[in-house]
Symmetry: C2
Subunit: 221 residues, 2 copies
């Protein structure tokens, strides 16, 4: 059985104890959430202070990637090989119950823990950045001014192998106490989603350049 | 000058060094972002492993609050008074430049660091939970089955005073290199926002109960 067919193994850190039915360890669920999201939050510790940095990410195979300026405090710190926590959370709706206590949020989240690896080679960095753009706007990379050696050098790309991982999902309607079902209180779900709006041309757009059709392929959430 | 009129003071941890024009320390900017968001990511460290937990939050005055089950690993850990990082990030758009290097994301974020305080008294917890519901659906709390003593006891509420805080904002069009301006590449911004959809009635809704008009007041982002 190849690794991509194997469920993740819960650890003391990733096993969901309360509401355990919300925990998922199969790759289909984890990869599905990761491939829907665009922004992650990376947790790391410098001199005892936790930091949580939001940044864009993408997945390739059994790794997630993120990148930034080589001068970034986070990315310089990750070169030391510290443990990180990588979290993606997609909010799907407000769950409005008949009591405050059972009011909740529908969401899909992935939490992955481990040590991030800095991508070394220029070719590998270049390929990763292309993969990121393909995630955001399929087909756009080939239309852009090619990335330069200096730009590659000024960019740090890191990856985190997905090993210690848990997905958590809450979906469906409000679940109220039996004794509250006869109350005259509305209950239900107000769905939320990421809206991708109408593209806005740059004010300095060259005359005659029109919006490429691949903008319509952008999907987030 | 009251504290609410005072800017936050940058520290070595919160001073924005690169792209320093994106950093903001005034309360109007910080509070504006906090009052628009609904989900935060809380960072904390247990036995050397950073954790990043997504959860709902709300702001009252110069404090942010979040809550959960008293059995939650995060909330039990916060009773020890460790340092935390509280991050809110709202994605406003994809910034598609003429080169991969200048491709970016428009966003508003707040990062706050400090030690969270556990709210002790039943009345104070109750008032905080009401404030949370008022943030989500103004006017709904008074219509709900009142929260019980047992539910209050089963809920932990924590607050973080906003002291070491930075907001970061990127807005506006793509900014390309001067030598790329004549390329036949489309550049612009694809706006993103949180879509609040049409409320869905719970399948077990009592006959005759209709959607309250305050559902239309829900604003996120």
């Amino acid at each position: 059985m190849s690794q991509t067919d194997t469920d993740f193994t819960p650890t003391a850190r990733t096993r969901v104890k309360r509401s355990h039915q919300r925990g998922h360890y199969d790759r289909e669920t984890v990869y599905g959430i990761l491939d829907a999201g665009l922004m992650c939050h990376v947790g790391y510790v410098i001199e005892g202070q936790p930091y949580v940095t939001p940044t864009a990410y993408w997945r390739e195979g059994d790794k997630v990637y993120w990148h930034g300026s080589s001068a970034s405090k986070m990315l310089r710190h990750l070169e030391n090989g510290p443990r990180v926590c990588f979290t993606v959370a997609l909010m799907d709706g407000l769950v409005l119950a008949r009591s405050g206590f059972h009011t909740s949020v529908n969401y899909r989240s992935v939490i992955a823990m481990g040590v991030a690896e800095v991508i070394g080679g220029e070719a590998e960095k270049r390929a990763s950045l292309e993969a990121m753009m393909e995630r955001i706007v399929p087909g756009r990379w080939a239309t852009l001014r090619p990335v330069t050696k200096q730009e590659i050098k000024a960019t740090t790309v890191v990856s985190l192998k997905l090993e210690e991982v848990v997905a958590k999902v809450r979906s469906g309607p409000a679940i109220d106490d039996a004794e509250d079902m006869d109350l005259d209180v509305w209950a239900g779900v107000v769905p939320t989603a990421t809206l991708v709006g109408v593209p806005e041309d740059n004010p300095d757009l060259k005359a005659g350049v029109t919006r490429p059709p691949n903008l319509a392929k952008i999907r987030i959430g």
